[in-house]
Symmetry: C2
Subunit: 446 residues, 2 copies
C-alpha cells in the first residue's frame, strides 16, 4: 500500500494537462512513466504508442490460454488545475492530510490507473500466472474527449482484440457503498442559424417592418421543449426502451441525493421531465439542452438594433434505443417545421455523436465485478447509471465489439476537475484488494 | 448656391465623428467653424458652449419684437465613416459627381445645417430684418444620442425660450415629393437576467436535473411576442390612441415602398403585427424587439454545458399615448409573470426612455412649413411619420414646452450612416429657397 501511494505521488508530480499545449511534454512524460511502471510490474510488449495527439501506453500478459482476454482501460492525463488560488496545497505537489491524498489526478484517475497494475504485479512477482490474459490501454486524451482513441483503436483491432474491457475511470457510490456504473447516455446535437435580413437594422426605422432573428430563434427554442421540461420534438421519445419496474425500484431505493445536488449546484430548484424522479431524468430519460444561444448586441448599455442573425447550439443526451443519427434528423425536421416562415433557418447536425450505452444486465463480467466488490466491501454493489457519456466505452463497443465493466474507486465528492482534488487512502486500499479479487473472478468467469 | 456648396465642402472636411474619442478635437473644430459661419452671417451673441460632452453652438437675432421666436436645431457631428473601403472617394474629401455631393455628413446633416444660416444671412446682408426672432441650437452629439442636450437645455431655459423649434435634421419624401415629418415614436426598454445555477454545469452529468437558463429565457422571450408579431405583454396596447381613418387613408395613399424596403434589407419577408400595413406598423403602431440575447457557449465547435445564466436586451417603440415608464413596468411585470419558477429572473428598466412625439395636426408652424414647401415644390407636402425616435425633439418638448417643425432636405436613399453618403445639389437648392420661404411664413404665422 505504501508503495502504491508513493507511485501515485510520483505520477501526480507530472502535470499531464492534456488540453494545454504547454504541457504536452508532461503528458508524454506521464506516458513514459506509466510504461516504465508497467514494465516494472512484469508486463510484456510495453510500448508508448504515438497518435495524432497525445501518446497511448500499451502492455500485455497473454499466457493464460483458454482464458478470457481483458483490456484494462484508463488515462494518465488530467484536467487543468485552475483556479490555482483555491488549492490548499499546490496541485502537483501531492500531500496526505487526514487520510486523503491531495493533488490533481489523485481521484481522476492516476490512483485508479495504478490499481490494475499493482494487482497484476502482485501475482507476477509472486511467480503466479494471471488468471486471465490482460492488455493495457492507457490513453492521454480522456480529458479532451479521447480525440485520437477511436481512430487509433480502429487501426489496431488485432492488438486490442479481447473478450471484455474493464475501465478504472469510474466511481463507487459512497465510502461503504460499492457500485457498478452500468449505463451511460449517448449524445446527438444540432446547431441552428437564423437569418432575418442582410444586416442588423435600426429598431426604430425598421421596427414593425423587418422580422427579428433573435425573436424567431426564441420561438424555435421554445418549441423544442415545453416549460414543463417535456421535449416536444416529434418522434423524440419513440425509441426510448421502457426501463423495468425492478430497475426503477432499485433506483428509488438508492439514497436520495436530489437536495444535495440542488444545493451544490446553487439552483433554486431542480427541473426536468414530468413523471420521473430527478435520478430517472438523469439516468434513464433523454434530455435536450441549449448549450449556447446568441444574437444581436451583448455589450454594455443599449444598442437599438434588430438582429439579422441568431444562433443556438443544442445537444441531447440519449438512452437506449435512441439512435443519434435519427435523433439529429428529428431535431432538424422539427426546427424547420416550427420556424417562422419569414426568416431563413439552417440546421446542421453537429459533432460528439455517440450511442447510449447500457451494459446488458446479465453480462458475466458484471457478475464477476459484483462478486469482487462484494468480497471487499461486505455488501453487493448498487448498479448505477450516469447522465454523461464516456467516449472510450462507446469506442471499445463499436470498434472491438466488447462491453466495458466499470471498476473505479473514486467518489463523487473528491473534487475531480476542481481545486483540492483528493482520493481517500481507504478507497485505494479497497481498490487494490478489489482488483486482485476481480482478476480471480474474471478468470473463473463462465 | 456655389458659396453654400463651398461652405458645405469645408465643413465636411472636418471629420467630426462624435462617437470616437480620437476625433473629439475635430468635433470641437466643427463647432468653431460653425460658430464662425454664424458670426459671418450676421448673427449675434455667437458662442461655442461647453457641455459634459461635445460643445454646442449658440447664435441669435432677436430684433423682431412682437414676432415669434424660433429655435433652429441641428447638429454638426457625423457617424463614423467605416467601412472605409466601400467609399468610392474618401469620406472627408468632398467631391461632386453627377449633381451629387459625396462625403460623410453631406446628407446627415451638414448641408441642412447651413440652410437656415444662409437664409438668415441673405436677408441680413441685404439689410433686411428677419421676419422672426431666431436662436440657433446646433449640437455635436446627435449621433451619440444627444447625451448632453437634455441637461444643457434644462440649465439654459431662458436662453432658449421660444415659441417653436425648427429641426433641419429631417427628410423629404422624394426628389419631387415634399414632406413634413410630424410623428416619431418613443422608446422604453428592459434588460432581463436569468440565473439557473451558480455555474455552468456538465450537460451529461447534470442533464435532466438542473434548469437551463437559456431555455428559460427562450420561453420568456417567446411569451413577450407571439409568432404572429402581436405583442403579448398584458396592457401593452391599452393606451394606444386610435389613429383616424383620414390619417390611415393618407398613409395608404402614399407610394407603397414595402417591397423596396424588403429588398434593400435583404429580408425574405416583412413581418409585424397583424391587421396593419407595413407602414402603419412602422409609423403608428408600437413594437417590441429583442436587441440582443445570449447565454452559454458561443465559440467554435461544441461545449456540452447547461448555461447558468442568460440575458436579453429589449426595447419597444411607442406611440401616443403610451407612457415609457408605464410600459417598462408592464414589461417587467409580464416577464416575472411568465418566468419559469425554477430560475431566478431579474428585470431592469433600461436607458433611452423617450415619449412618443406627434406634432398636433393643427399646429400653425406646420401650416407655415407646408406653405413654404408648397411654394418651392409646387405641391403640398405629405405629412409623414417615422418609426425612430429623435432625442432633440422630445427634449425641446419636455424642457421648453415647444413643438419642433421638421424642415430638412435629405432623402432616404442618400446613404446617411453608410458608405458613399451624398446629398443632391438640387435638394440643397430647393432647401435654400424653402428656408427663405419658411422665415417669411413663420413671420406671418397667426
Amino acid at each position: 500500500m505504501s508503495n502504491l501511494i508513493d507511485d501515485l505521488k510520483a505520477l501526480i508530480r507530472i502535470p499531464s494537462v492534456s488540453t494545454d499545449p504547454a504541457h504536452s511534454q508532461d503528458v508524454a512524460a506521464a506516458a513514459r512513466w506509466t510504461a516504465e511502471r508497467l514494465q516494472a510490474a512484469g508486463l510484456e510488449q510495453v510500448a508508448v504508442m504515438p497518435t495524432a495527439g497525445h501518446p497511448l501506453v500499451y502492455g500485455e500478459w497473454l499466457h493464460a490460454p483458454g482464458r478470457p482476454t481483458v483490456v484494462f482501460y484508463g488515462h494518465f492525463d488530467v484536467q487543468p488545475p485552475d483556479p490555482l488560488d483555491l488549492w490548499t496545497s499546490p496541485p502537483f505537489e501531492p500531500v496526505v492530510r487526514d487520510g486523503r491524498l491531495y493533488g490533481r489526478g489523485a481521484s481522476d484517475m492516476k490512483g485508479n490507473l495504478l490499481l490494475a497494475v499493482v494487482a497484476c504485479e502482485a501475482l507476477l512477482k509472486a511467480g503466479q500466472p494471471l488468471p486471465v490474459n490482460v492488455k493495457f490501454l492507457y490513453e492521454g486524451e480522456e480529458e479532451i474527449g479521447s480525440r485520437s482513441l477511436g481512430e487509433f483503436v480502429a487501426a489496431h483491432h488485432d492488438l486490442y482484440a479481447c473478450d471484455l474491457a474493464v475501465s478504472a475511470d469510474s466511481l463507487q457510490y459512497g465510502p461503504d457503498q460499492p457500485a457498478l456504473l452500468v449505463g451511460l447516455r449517448g449524445t446527438a446535437g444540432i446547431e441552428i442559424d437564423v437569418r432575418s435580413a442582410a444586416t442588423d437594422a435600426h429598431s426604430g426605422l425598421m421596427g414593425g417592418l423587418l422580422p427579428n432573428a433573435a425573436q424567431a430563434l426564441a420561438h424555435i427554442l421554445a418549441a423544442l421543449k415545453g416549460p414543463d421540461g417535456r421535449i416536444l420534438v416529434q418522434g423524440f421519445y419513440d425509441d426510448v426502451r421502457p426501463v423495468s419496474e425492478d430497475e426503477r425500484a432499485a433506483m428509488a431505493a438508492l439514497p436520495d441525493d436530489a437536495e444535495s445536488i440542488r444545493q451544490s449546484a446553487g439552483a433554486r430548484a431542480l427541473a426536468g421531465e414530468p413523471g420521473f424522479t430527478p435520478r430517472e431524468r438523469n439516468w434513464i430519460r433523454p434530455t435536450l439542452d441549449i448549450n449556447g444561444m446568441w444574437g444581436g448586441y451583448q455589450g454594455a448599455g443599449g444598442k437599438t438594433v434588430i438582429p439579422a442573425e441568431a444562433h443556438a447550439k443544442i445537444t441531447c443526451r440519449l438512452v437506449p434505443d435512441q439512435d443519434p443519427a435519427k435523433i439529429a434528423t428529428l431535431l432538424q425536421e422539427h426546427v424547420l417545421r416550427v420556424a417562422p416562415p419569414e426568416v431563413e433557418v439552417a440546421v446542421r447536425a453537429r459533432g460528439g455523436r455517440s450511442r447510449p450505452y447500457v451494459v446488458p444486465a446479465d453480462h458475466p463480467g458484471l457478475a464477476a465485478a459484483e462478486r469482487a466488490l462484494a468480497a471487499v466491501y461486505g455488501r453487493a454493489p448498487h448498479r448505477i447509471r450516469m447522465g454523461a457519456s464516456v467516449p472510450a466505452t462507446t469506442i471499445l463497443r463499436e470498434e472491438l465489439g466488447v462491453w466495458t465493466i466499470p471498476f473505479g474507486f473514486g467518489l463523487a465528492d473528491e473534487n475531480a476537475h476542481a481545486p483540492d482534488e483528493f482520493v481517500r487512502l481507504s478507497s485505494m486500499e479497497r481498490g487494490q484488494a478489489a482488483f486482485g479479487a476481480l482478476l480471480k473472478e474474471l478468470g473463473a468467469m463462465g
